[in-house]
Structure formats: structure tokens, C-alpha cells
């Protein structure tokens, strides 16, 4: 507030703005959810309990306590006891107000959160931005020690009740914090000690924590220095249960696990949507494994990520958490309308605004009253849920998976959650609709404009939980490296994206091949060939006319000319050919997605360099299935490393899709639609260069997030780095279910 007072022309927001109209397939925090939170923020009264889950694809919505919804009058009281202990610190309720930094929030909200924690006897995390002086006056805070240690010294560490070593967060597992340069204004620069106007990109890993024994070293060092409890915050990823057991064994006092879909002030969109698993799948496994190892007692488990109501909280506690962290819901209570412009600093509600002259900032008293009301109403709902379940205190609910019922929770999911339930009608794996949702259309045009990683704010709206899944690939998530191995910083360290197709004859700096669209003019094709050559990738002109002989070394074509990068033949071309020996260039065979793509080309295996699976040709299976089967069959025959597998998936819309296809088994991907979506005739060459650059950089981000620094030898066919959210996909793609161990 102190900083706000020093700024000129600040406009204070002292009333709520109109909520944007979004349904739950467009935003997890749909207008009805935000509306309800706002109602609680105004009235301070509980609204209802045992809400019926509406999102078919969100696993937590498919769990319930088997009770009908109860609409409350609002004046009900509860008799159950909500007191909880976090690492020896007593809280009035199992609520931790999540880490949102000074910098990502506009100062007033940071102060409000600390004040509320004191008044309601809860605890708030400070986030990564150091300690705002007004926040430092309050006691009930946990100070964050993150990879950049912004604004941290011994004094700051001694202030709070405890320290949180932040390894990861649900919105961007494997990536460090990100405060865009335009939000690094004077006040922020002073607290964080970094230059004004420059992006504050925290390193992906802690550079002193590259293994689990390194984490122990850091925990011990912080305890030696301060004597305070130390917790560790991680994102929910593939190996969450092992990582948490490791964290407990290393002597941490607790863990904060942040699930997929959690909020953020700024994160790469492809990381948000494609990395990490939902909190519900992580928590159950974590609780079970900790108990099995005899490490659960005295170790606090705090769960976060999309906790939108007391019902969500109760279910997550029943699955195995001691407490929940609230982030986005608290922001909604103080007026956030989910405009999702946080990363630009232009927040209409004044909550995540950049702190400079002329900023918009939310009114302190409005925000504080709202948050207190909301949390009181939230606690009332939680208390009433416990009363209704016949439980005397919230600690009795922890790990009570036996109280939960499931709808459409079967096979591996049932094993992971210890809750089972049949489906009356099967949830479709694929729904109709264009992959070019508003979010992805914006993504594509941003990529073409900037040529670099596309950043967006707040939690993921990706499939399957929010956007209905349309492809098998929508059910897959990549791993984020945390604790047991480090993630690699793609901005500053050398991640090798190069590939050596055709036994090294077709060497590329990135595993991308341009596939033109049918409506391109010869001039556009010529530009695209130049761009492919310039950027050290390739272009596949099968079925197109090739206007000139320029850049042949990078061109793949259905007609052979001297110096051509590769000759591409279809199955029917093959049958009318006597021998394919005479060509001096690498040869690829173009196939539709077949269940066994190797069988039809068996006679030619020793003569070809690889196959191109193209779903523009009608096939028998999903392209993802064909890729996996091609990879496995070639490995069984011991020839995987002499036959390339290239995939053209017409629905490919991001670098996330590209990396997933590689992990499924593809050496390289052809990109067409995303270029078509974002690259107009105007500024064609520039935009094409940007798209390729952007895709390549984002792919490096995803690799780094998974702890991989070499694309070609490590990612391809590494299905161990993937998880699926549906057991049916496990069978099809040989990928484990998220939370399985």
C-alpha cells in the first residue's frame, strides 16, 4: 500500500465488475462458479453443500459423498471442529492461502491476504517475489524460497512461521516463476533486486537441487540457518508419490502439491495445458504411499489446484490431504472476473495490475472484507459438510476414501483413488468440434507474431477437463522433472533439438517439417522452401508442384530430381514400381494411419529411410495409435534406428501436440494447419519464420520441463514420460495412467 501511495494517478477499484460470461467448457472458473464465490464474498454466508459435479471430464466432479445437494438458507451454524495443524502450527481451518507473489499481484491483494491470515488464524504463502514491507508486519505467513530467491535474505526467512522451498507449481511444472518485463516496475525492481523492465524469469530448477539428496541438503541448510519448519512445494506430476515420499524422508515438515489447472500470473500456454496431472490423482497415491512407507504421521500434505468450493476441498481431504490451498477462488472473491490479462499487467479489477503511475488497483477495504466474508462462508460450508457426514472434526475426514462414491471411475482410476463406480453411459474419448478454439486461435496468431514462447495467465482451459477432448492426444500429459532430477532451463541452457533423419543425410535443427496447405500459391511454396532451408528444417511437397529447383536439399517430393532432400512415395506408387534402388536420395513411404504400418512396407524396409503417417489420408485407426505401433514394431524387429517415423497430424495445433507425438514414437512432425491458421498472405515469410521459431522454442521448453536436454536420443518413443487420464487410452497408446505406481 505504501508503494501504491507513492504512485500517481492511481485509480482505485471499489466495486465489483460485471462477470464475464463463460461456461465450464470455456473456463474452469465459469461465470456460475465466480458468481457463487462473489455471492459468498458479499454476504459472508454459505450457499449450498454436496454440489452436483457438472464437468463430466473432471475426475473430482465424478466423485461425491453420495448425498443430495442441500441448498442452505445461509444462517445455518455448524458444530464440527475445523482446526488443523500444519507442521506444528495451529490453524482455525484447513486452509492455506496460496502463494501469489508481490509482482504477480498488485500489492494491495498481497497485504490483504496477510491481514486475513492473521485475523482468521490461517496461514498465507508469500509467493516468490520477496516480502512487501506491509506484508512483513504480519506473522502468519510462510516465506517462499524459490529458484531465484527474489528478495530473500536471513531477515526475510526469519519473519514467517515457516519456509516453503518452491520446486514447482501446478500451472507450469518444470518451469520457474515468470514476471513479464512490463510488470517489473520500480517497486518490484527494488524488492526483487533486478533491473526494471526486464522479464524476471526464475531458473527452471534450483541450481543447487538436482537430486533428492540435494533437497535434503537445502532443507538441512535452511533449518540450520533459521530453525523453522520447512515445507516443499511441488506440482502434481507423473512421479508425485515417489517425490513426496522422498521429500518426507529428507526431513521436510510437509508438502504442498499443486495440481494441473492451478492458477498463475504468467506461464507458457503449452506448458499449462500439456504438463502435469490433476490433484485428485496425485493426492490419493501420495497419501497411500506415505502411509505404506510409515512416513505419513507428522507430515503435512496440503493440496491445491482448482479448489473452487468447500465440496472440492472436502473431497480432496477425503482423498488424503490435511488441508487445501486457495488461490484463484480468493482472487475471485476480491473481484477477479477471469479476464486472463494478468501477464500484461492490465487487470480490470486492479488485482494483478502492473504497479506504475496510472495503474488500476483494487480498494484495500473492499478486498479485505470480501476475502474475509468468502472464507467465513467457505468454512461454514465445510463445517456443515462434516456435520452431515457425522464427523466431529476435519482431521477425521483425512484419507477417508471409503466415504466417497464414484461415477465412471473404473480399472486403473479406481485402483489409484480407492473409489470405484460404473458408468451408465460411456464418456466419449473424442468429441466433435474444431481444435481451433478461441484460446488456440489466439495462441497461433501470437506465435506467428512473436516467434517465441506464448505466455498466458491463470489456470489451464485445455482438454480434457475444460475443453472437451477431441483427439486421443488430448488425454495425454507430459512429465515435469522435480526434485529427483532437475528440469533444464531452456532460456539459458543448451537443449539439443537436432534430428538426423535418413541416417544423417537429412539433418535438421528441429524436428519440424513444413507441409503446405492446398490453397497455397506457387509463390508461397517458394517462400516456404526458402524458410525451411534458412531454418535448417525441411518441407514436404508430396502432391504439390515444385516451382523451382532452389532449396532442393531441404525439399521432400514425389518426383526425383538431383539433390532432392528425399523422395516420397505412396503405397500405390510402390506397387507400380519395379525397384526403388536406383534413386540416390532417401526414400520415404507415405501411409494412412494403419494399425500395423510396418506390414505393407515389409518388402521395402531395407531400402527406405522411413515412413510418413498422414491422417489426411483416411486410415483405420487414430494417428496416435499408428505412431505407437510403428515405433514398437520397428523396435521389435531391431530396426527402429534405421527407419524414421514421421507423422502428419492435420489437427496438430501446438508444440505440445508435437512433443507428445514424439514421445509416442515420432522422429519428426509435419505442421500444416497451425501455419494455415496463423500465417496470412500478408507478411507470409516473416510469420512463417516466427511460427517455426516459436514452435521450436516451445518444444525446447517442454523438453526442459521434463528434464530432457537431448531431443533425438531421449524423447522419441519415451512413453514413460507421458501419462493418460483415461485407462482406455493406456491400452491404445501403451501409456500409464496418471497417478499409477
Amino acid at each position: 500500500m505504501h508503494y501504491v501511495e507513492r504512485l500517481d494517478n492511481v485509480r482505485i477499484i471499489n466495486s465489483f465488475l460485471k462477470i464475464l460470461n463463460k461456461d465450464y467448457t470455456r473456463d474452469f472458473w465459469s461465470s456460475s462458479v465466480v458468481e457463487e464465490i462473489r455471492q459468498m464474498a458479499v454476504s459472508g454466508r454459505p450457499i449450498r453443500i454436496f454440489r452436483r459435479g457438472v464437468r463430466a471430464y473432471r475426475i473430482l466432479d465424478r466423485l461425491s459423498f453420495g448425498k443430495d445437494e442441500v441448498v442452505l438458507h445461509g444462517d445455518e451454524t455448524y458444530s464440527s471442529d475445523l482446526t488443523t495443524s500444519i507442521s506444528g502450527i495451529e490453524l482455525a481451518a484447513p486452509i492455506y492461502i496460496g502463494d501469489m507473489s508481490f509482482g504477480s499481484l498488485s500489492g494491495v491483494p498481497n497485504v490483504v491476504v496477510a491481514e486475513v491470515a492473521d485475523e482468521l488464524n490461517l496461514v498465507a504463502g508469500t509467493g516468490e517475489g520477496g516480502l512487501h514491507p506491509d506484508v512483513a508486519k504480519h506473522r502468519r505467513i510462510f516465506v517462499q524460497w524459490a529458484s531465484a530467491r527474489f528478495g530473500v535474505d536471513i531477515d526475510v526467512l526469519m519473519r514467517g512461521l515457516g519456509i516453503v522451498i518452491k520446486i514447482g507449481q501446478g500451472a507450469k511444472p518444470g518451469i520457474g516463476g515468470h514476471l513479464p518485463g512490463n510488470k517489473v516496475t520500480g517497486p518490484i525492481s527494488m524488492v526483487r533486486r533486478i533491473p526494471i523492465g526486464v522479464d524476471a524469469l526464475s531458473p527452471a530448477p534450483h541450481h543447487d537441487i538436482y537430486s533428492i539428496e540435494d533437497l535434503k541438503q537445502r532443507i538441512d541448510a535452511l533449518k540450520e540457518a533459521t530453525g523453522k519448519p520447512v515445507l516443499v512445494k511441488i506440482a502434481a506430476t507423473n512421479y508425485a508419490p515417489y517425490i513426496v515420499v522422498g521429500i518426507a524422508r529428507m526431513g521436510a515438515d510437509g508438502v504442498i502439491i499443486d495440481g494441473h489447472g492451478a492458477g498463475t500470473g504468467a506461464a507458457p500456454q503449452v506448458v499449462k495445458d500439456n504438463v502435469g496431472i490433476p490433484i485428485e490423482l496425485a493426492i490419493a497415491s501420495v497419501d497411500k504411499m506415505l502411509r505404506r512407507e510409515g512416513l505419513r504421521d507428522g507430515f503435512t500434505v496440503i493440496a491445491s489446484g482448482r479448489v473452487s468450493s468447500a465440496d472440492d476441498a472436502a473431497k480432496i481431504i477425503a482423498l488424503g490431504a490435511d488441508a487445501v490451498a486457495l488461490g484463484t477462488s480468493v482472487l475471485n472473491s476480491m473481484g477477479c472476473i477471469m479476464a486472463r490479462t494478468c501477464h500484461t499487467g492490465n487487470c480490470p479489477a486492479g488485482i494483478t495490475s502492473r504497479l506504475a503511475d496510472g495503474s488500476v488497483v483494487v480498494d484495500h477495504d473492499l478486498a479485505k472484507r470480501a476475502v474475509i466474508n468468502y472464507l467465513k462462508a467457505f468454512q461454514a460450508e465445510l463445517g456443515l459438510i462434516l456435520d452431515n457426514l457425522g464427523l466431529g472434526n476435519v482431521r477425521e475426514l483425512v484419507g477417508r476414501r471409503d466415504l466417497l462414491k464414484g461415477y465412471c471411475i473404473t480399472s486403473e482410476l479406481a485402483k489409484i483413488l480407492d473409489v470405484a463406480g460404473d458408468c451408465t453411459s460411456e464418456l466419449p474419448l473424442k468429441n466433435n468440434g474444431s481444435v481451433w478454439t478461441p484460446d488456440y486461435s489466439i495462441y497461433a496468431s501470437q506465435l506467428a507474431k512473436k516467434g517465441d514462447v506464448v505466455i498466458s495467465s491463470m489456470g489451464s482451459t485445455g482438454p480434457p477437463e475444460v475443453e472437451p477432448p477431441k483427439r486421443l492426444i488430448d488425454w495425454l500429459r507430459l512429465d515435469g522433472a522435480q526434485v529427483t532430477k532437475p528440469s533444464i532451463d531452456p532460456y539459458r541452457e543448451d537443449i539439443d533439438m537436432s534430428v538426423y533423419l535418413a541416417g544423417g543425410r537429412l539433418q535438421m535443427s528441429a524436428p519440424l517439417i513444413i507441409r503446405p496447405l492446398t490453397n497455397w500459391s506457387p509463390e508461397q511454396i517458394e517462400r516456404a522452401k526458402f524458410v525451411a532451408h534458412l531454418m535448417d528444417i525441411a518441407i514436404d511437397l508430396y502432391g504439390f508442384s515444385n516451382p523451382s529447383g532452389k532449396h532442393s536439399s531441404r525439399t521432400m517430393w514425389d518426383r526425383w530430381i538431383r539433390g532432392i532432400g528425399a523422395l516420397v512415395l505412396s503405397l500405390s506408387d510402390l506397387s507400380s514400381m519395379k525397384t526403388i534402388y536406383e534413386y540416390d536420395s532417401p526414400i520415404y513411404i507415405r501411409l494412412p494411419p494403419l494399425l500395423d504400418p510396418i506390414k505393407p512396407i515389409e518388402p521395402y524396409l531395407s531400402q527406405i529411410s522411413g515412413i510418413i503417417i498422414d491422417d489426411a489420408l483416411s486410415g483405420e485407426v487414430d494417428p496416435e495409435v499408428s505412431v505407437v505401433n510403428a515405433d514398437l514394431e520397428l523396435r521389435r524387429r531391431g530396426i527402429r534406428y534405421s527407419v524414421d517415423v514421421i507423422i502428419h497430424m492435420t489437427s496438430l495445433r501446438s508444440s505440445g501436440d508435437a512433443v507428445k507425438l514424439a514421445a509416442l514414437g515420432a522422429d519428426a512432425v509435419e505442421v500444416s494447419s497451425i501455419i494455415g491458421k496463423a500465417v496470412t498472405v500478408d507478411g507470409f515469410e516473416d510469420k512463417l519464420i516466427n511460427i517455426i521459431n516459436g514452435l521450436r522454442r516451445e518444444m525446447a521448453q517442454l523438453l526442459g520441463a521434463a528434464g530432457v536436454y537431448t531431443y533425438y536420443s531421449t524423447i522419441i518413443g519415451n512413453r514413460e514420460l507421458l501419462r493418460t487420464l483415461d485407462p482406455r487410452v493406456k491400452e491404445l497408446l501403451k501409456v500409464k495412467v496418471a497417478g499409477e505406481w
Binding site: I212, Q217, Y242, K485, D496, H551, G707, T710, L721
Partner: protein
């Protein structure tokens, strides 16, 4: 094997081989050394592997079997061996630990390679519920491993009295308890090869699927070491690659920097054998009538490893303290990122782990002043808490100078002090302090008469750290004030995230050289790398590794001598530049547009590449830096005239790049 299992764990490792005519190495020394880093394990697994060049005469197989199924296991093995014409001639029970019997079988009639046979046996045993496991085989190797701390396992198997020509050892910290089964303890061995590994492979999914699906090795227990053991054994003993070539494949150098077509082909052909993620691996192998000790470090240098030699034995260890425990005066050096040590019993050193010239100039045998003063704190046998409490007690009682002697590996020294806001206090450390020295320091002066290890002075805001020897990786992370002076070298990521604010500006001065990522994400402060020993010897030497100043947003780096611009920040590879040039030529663009196009295509918008300048220091710079360098000379007892000479030299000055301003370096088509 399509869906695989993977179990993370952590550890401390060690390897020793004797040189020339040195006497055999006794197990007790190995136990003592690995026990120095007991805290890297948790008593849930430890082990040793020992190789004798003259072997045991007989072919031997080591076996774990669950007590109640022992007969089934024995029958299964004799049956399968019988099919290949081999038979068991003797069975010796090495130990009984809980429910597991550890037995050694002697075999006769073994002809050539039994790997496949043993894989089939192990696969069957695993399918039957893990009722047993063959955990080593060969004529020259013996493995001792189990559940417990290193000294406990040693006692069970009589390791202390065992002698061999080369050893490796391991102490394990698994995330999950293995219960009573020793299957996941390390080392992993097969066919006269044994491996210990610190780290976690992100490539495991590819490595294991290849072993399972293509090579038919099933029933893997799910650890990285096991996979690496199989891969290395296959490359050397089945395919026939020579050891150094096989190691090159495993260590997975960045292909962006390689132009040798043979190496490129090799790395692509054995893609499945390339490792990714953090790893320090130590291997022992008996091959072609020779014994090898091999140590390798991943190219990002994400795990620690120190190498040593004392005239009789070569050592490789997770931490220097392990070596000093049994060889206090050994010459030590570190592996370069992506480097490897290969020592052959018969031929000596095949590969040093860094270029020999670098070793000769920068890593000589060092000796440090010893302190026998009766008033010092004797750290021998004390843990870090005891040392720190005593240091604090003396300071609170009025001491302004505290000495600590016989330090060997204790970590966190001085980390209890910052909250007391001490000034005018000096702590002298004699020996080899462990990791995380002086973290959060805000005013104390620390002097190390010896080598320091990783993570020195993390988040230091004031005070001094003076090191007479070397420091290792991640020195001065988020250093924000005060001075760090190192007489010798430092490792990877030195000065990462250094900052300055208000009146505080930190200075980090290195007398020797550094490895990769110097000053990564620097936002303020000054780093200087002087290469004093190279200067004195009149030798031109590279004082840094690659990626200098990557992601810098502030501050300055001064490196004496010329640093090639290709080593600054993240540079495009030669290949990328060549292809880009080709494309421009074919399209008809003039030569002088190359730089513009390079920036267009390869410049990053979030993080610009740093700029570099090669010149003499300006007057302002001399005014700023000379007093700091004079202080450096005084603290490290260096002739002040040398400083005057050094100040007159030319330096490569690296500063943050600016968005939109073209980076220099490329004049025309080459």
C-alpha cells in the same frame, strides 16, 4: 517389455583402482572412504564391487534367493545352466540376511558369453514373483551388497579384509523402502562389469524399452544403474566398441557442437544407449585381460564428481572428503562437464576427464598450511551441528578469530551464524569443508585452507569467503554483496544469478579457470577470471567453458585473454550458420546481410544473447577493480606486483545483450 517400472533413488559413490605396482586395495579403506558420505544414504542399501585382474580361476555367479524358495531357485538355475552345458561345481553361502540367502555358485563348462542365459534365468525368477536374482557373474568380479549402511553391509560380508585391484562402492537413499529385498541395492553387475550411479536418467524410458523390446532383456528391477550396466556391457563386450568409444556414446555429447561425421554416425546408430538427465557414473570392468575404472559426468554437470591420484591409486568420488579420508594429500581435479576418466590397470590413464594441458596448468598437487594450534576446534569426529555450535559459542564469548582444523566433508559450516548479524569475525577452516559453506552469509569472513565443494556462499549478502584451493559447482548463487576470492578454480554455474542493489555490489574473483555457464542469469555484480597460473607459466589457456553469461541481464564479467564469441551465451552451432548461409546464397541475398538474418532467425525475444568486447580495462574500471584485486592479493598472499601486471592485460568483457541490437561476431559468409 512395453510398460516399464522406474524407481528413483539417490546416493554417494566411489571408485578406486591401483596404479602400476601399488599394493592391492583393502576393503577396509573402501569402507572408510564411502562412510564419509554416509548422509548421502539412509541405511536402506549399500554395496561394493571388487575386481581382481587375475580373477578367481573359476567362473562364479552371485545369487540372492528368498529363503523359503531357495530350492526352487537352485533347481531353476541348474536346469537352465545344464541346457547350455555348464554345471554347478560348488555352492558357498556368503550370508543370510533376514529372509534372503546370498550364495555364490562356481561353474564349470562355461563357454563364452552366458549373459543371455542369465537374463532368461532372471526373467523367470522375476516372473515367479522375484523369488531370487542373479546379481553378478564372471571370473574376476565379486559383488557385496545388501540393505543397511556401508559399514553394516561390509561387516556382513567380510568386506574389510577382502583385497582387490579395483573397487567401486555405493550408499543408497531410495525414495521407497525396498523392504528386506536387496535387489535394488547398488552396484549392478553383469559379466565382470559393475556400475554405481548418482542421478536419475530422463532417458530411462528409451534405454529400458530398447533393452526389453529389442534386446529381449526382461525382468529388469527398474533402476538406472542396471540399465546402464546392460548397455555398457553390450556396447563393449557384444558389439565390440572400444571402451572410450562406448563411454562417448553413453556420455551423450551435444551433437550441436560436433562436426566429425564418424562420431555423428556413431551417436545416431546407438541412440538408445545415450543417457540424458543428471548422472555421475563410476564403472568397473574386467575386459581383454585388463581392469578398468571409468568415471563419467553428464554434459550439464548436474551431479558432483571429484577425481584424485596419489602416486599409487586413482580415485573417483561423489565428494572430495571420501578421497581425503584415506589419501589426505592426493592431487584432485574434477571431470569436465561431459568428461570421462578411464584408467587401465596395465596401461595407466587412457583419459583424464579433462584436457591434460588444463590439468597440468590448473590442477597441480596443492598443499595448504596446516594448523596445529591447541586453541582450534578439532572437527575430527564432529558433525556439522557440533562444529557450528562451538563456533557460535566462541564468538559469543568474545572471540574474533575462530579456527577449525581437521575438517573433512562437514557441510553447512557457518550457516547458523547469519541470524546473529555478526561483524568483524573471521572463521578459518583447515581441511576440506563439505557442501553449502557460508550460505546466507551477511558479514562473517570465512577462510578455507583447502578446497571447498559445491554451493559455497549461496544467497550471501555481505562478508567475505576466501578459498586458497578450488571451489566446485554453483559458487556464489544469488550472491548479492561482499567478496568471494578463490585462488584456484571453480566449476559449473559460477556466480549464477548474482545481483546488486542500492549500495551493495558483490565481487567474485577466480584465480584459476571455470567450466560452463559462468554468470548465468547474472543481474549485477562483477566476476573476474584471472588464470594466474597460466599467466605465470606463460601459457595461453582457455579460462572458461561454454555458455558464458547465458541469460545475463546485468553485471559484468571480465575474463583475462580472448574468449571466442562462440562461447558466449547460447550460440548458434556451426552447422546452423552454414545452412543459413547456404539458404541465403541460393536465394540470392548479398553477403553483408548475414548478420541481420542471423539475428532475425536466431535471436531470442525473451532473453537476448550477451555482448562481448576484447580490450584493455578503462581508467574507470581500473579505479573500481584495483582495490578489490589488491585485497585479493593480500588475502591470498600473492605478490602485489602481479596484480599490476594482470591489470595491464587485455580482457574479454561480457555484458548483457540488448533486445533489438544485433549481436556481433559474424562478418560474412565463411
Amino acid at each position: 517389455m512395453v510398460i516399464i517400472n522406474h524407481y528413483p533413488s539417490s546416493c554417494g559413490i566411489l571408485g578406486i583402482i591401483r596404479a602400476g605396482n601399488a599394493p592391492s586395495i583393502r576393503g577396509s579403506d573402501v569402507v572408510e572412504a564411502i562412510s564419509t558420505v554416509k548422509y548421502r544414504g539412509v541405511g536402506l542399501g549399500a554395496g561394493y564391487a571388487a575386481v581382481r585382474i587375475n580373477g578367481h580361476g573359476k567362473y562364479r555367479v552371485g545369487l540372492f534367493a528368498v529363503n523359503e524358495y531357495y530350492n526352487d531357485v537352485e533347481n531353476l538355475i541348474t536346469e537352465h545352466l545344464g541346457i547350455s552345458g555348464a554345471k554347478v561345481t560348488n555352492i558357498r553361502v556368503k550370508g543370510k540376511v533376514g529372509k534372503v540367502i546370498d550364495a555364490e555358485y562356481e561353474l564349470e563348462g562355461v563357454d563364452g558369453n552366458v549373459d543371455d542365459l542369465i537374463n532368461i534365468i532372471n526373467d523367470r525368477l522375476w516372473e515367479l514373483g522375484g523369488i531370487g536374482r542373479v546379481y553378478y557373474w564372471g571370473r574376476h568380479i565379486t559383488v557385496f551388497k545388501g540393505i543397511g549402511h556401508p559399514d553394516e553391509v561390509a561387516k556382513v560380508y567380510g568386506v574389510n579384509n577382502y583385497e582387490a585391484d579395483a573397487w567401486i562402492a555405493h550408499t543408497r537413499f531410495p525414495t521407497n523402502s525396498p523392504g528386506h529385498l536387496p535387489y535394488w541395492s547398488h552396484p549392478f553387475a553383469l559379466n565382470d562389469t559393475a556400475i554405481v550411479h548418482n542421478g536419475e536418467l530422463s532417458s530411462y524410458g528409451v534405454n529400458a524399452v530398447h533393452l526389453g523390446t529389442t534386446m529381449g532383456v526382461r525382468g529388469l528391477v527398474g533402476t538406472d544403474s542396471e540399465a546402464v550396466a546392460y548397455i555398457f556391457n553390450y556396447l563393449v563386450k557384444v558389439i565390440g566398441l572400444d571402451i572410450e568409444t562406448a563411454v562417448k556414446v553413453l556420455v551423450n555429447p551435444s551433437l550441436r557442437g560436433i562436426t566429425d561425421p564418424w562420431l555423428i554416425r556413431l551417436l545416431n546408430e546407438y541412440r538408445w544407449a545415450r543417457l540424458d538427465g543428471p548422472f555421475t557414473i563410476i564403472m568397473l570392468m574386467h575386459h581383454a585381460d585388463d581392469v578398468y575404472l571409468i568415471a563419467l559426468a553428464d554434459r550439464f554437470k548436474l551431479r558432483p564428481v571429484v577425481v584424485g591420484y596419489d602416486g599409487q591409486y586413482y580415485y573417483a568420488a561423489s565428494e572430495e572428503a571420501e578421497i581425503r579420508a584415506i589419501s589426505p594429500n592426493a592431487r584432485v581435479w574434477t571431470l569436465a562437464p561431459g568428461g570421462y576418466l578411464i584408467v587401465s590397470l596395465k596401461r595407466g590413464v587412457v583419459s583424464w576427464g579433462r584436457p591434460k594441458e588444463q590439468l597440468d596448468v590448473f590442477f597441480p598437487t596443492r598443499s595448504f598450511p596446516r594448523q596445529s594450534d591447541g586453541d582450534a576446534i578439532n572437527a575430527k569426529g564432529l558433525d556439522y551441528r557440533e562444529i557450528n555450535e562451538e563456533i557460535l559459542r566462541r564468538i559469543m564469548n568474545g572471540s574474533r578469530l575462530v579456527k577449525v582444523i581437521n575438517v573433512n566433508g562437514q557441510r553447512f559450516i557457518g550457516v547458523n551464524l547469519p541470524r546473529y548479524k555478526l561483524k568483524d569475525v573471521r572463521v578459518e577452516i583447515y581441511g576440506t569443508p563439505g557442501n553449502a559453506l557460508a550460505n546466507l552469509n551477511n558479514g562473517v569472513e570465512f577462510v578455507v585452507y583447502g578446497n571447498a565443494q559445491d554451493d559455497v556462499a549461496d544467497t550471501m549478502h555481505d562478508g567475505k569467503v576466501i578459498i586458497h584451493g578450488d571451489a566446485r559447482d554453483v559458487l556464489g548463487q544469488t550472491l548479492q554483496g561482499g567478496k568471494i576470492f578463490v585462488r584456484g578454480n571453480a566449476g559449473n554455474r559460477v556466480g549464477v544469478q548474482m545481483r546488486e542493489y542500492s549500495s551493495k555490489r558483490p565481487y567474485l574473483i577466480i584465480g584459476g579457470r571455470v567450466d560452463d555457464y559462468l554468470g548465468e542469469y547474472m543481474a549485477g555484480g562483477v566476476i573476474m577470471v584471472l588464470g594466474i597460473d597460466a599467466y605465470r607459466a606463460g601459457k595461453e589457456a582457455e579460462l572458461t567453458g561454454n555458455y558464458v553469461g547465458s541469460g545475463m541481464v546485468g553485471g559484468r564479467i571480465y575474463v583475462r585473454g580472448k574468449v571466442d564469441y562462440s562461447k558466449v551465451g547460447l550460440a548458434p552451432s556451426k552447422h546452423e550458420i552454414r545452412v543459413l548461409t547456404e539458404a541465403l546464397r541460393e536465394e540470392g541475398y548479398p553477403e553483408d546481410t548475414l548478420n541481420e538474418w542471423l539475428n532475425r532467425v536466431l535471436q531470442v525475444s525473451h532473453v537476448p544473447r550477451p555482448m562481448a568486447d576484447y580490450r584493455e580495462l578503462t581508467e574507470d574500471e581500473v579505479r573500481e577493480l584495483k582495490p578489490v584485486l589488491m585485497d585479493y592479493a593480500r588475502e591470498l598472499k600473492i605478490d602485489e606486483n602481479l596484480i599490476d601486471d594482470l591489470i595491464g592485460e587485455k580482457y574479454t568483457i561480457i555484458k548483457p545483450g540488448i533486445k533489438g541490437i544485433l549481436t556481433q561476431g559474424y562478418k560474412g559468409f565463411e
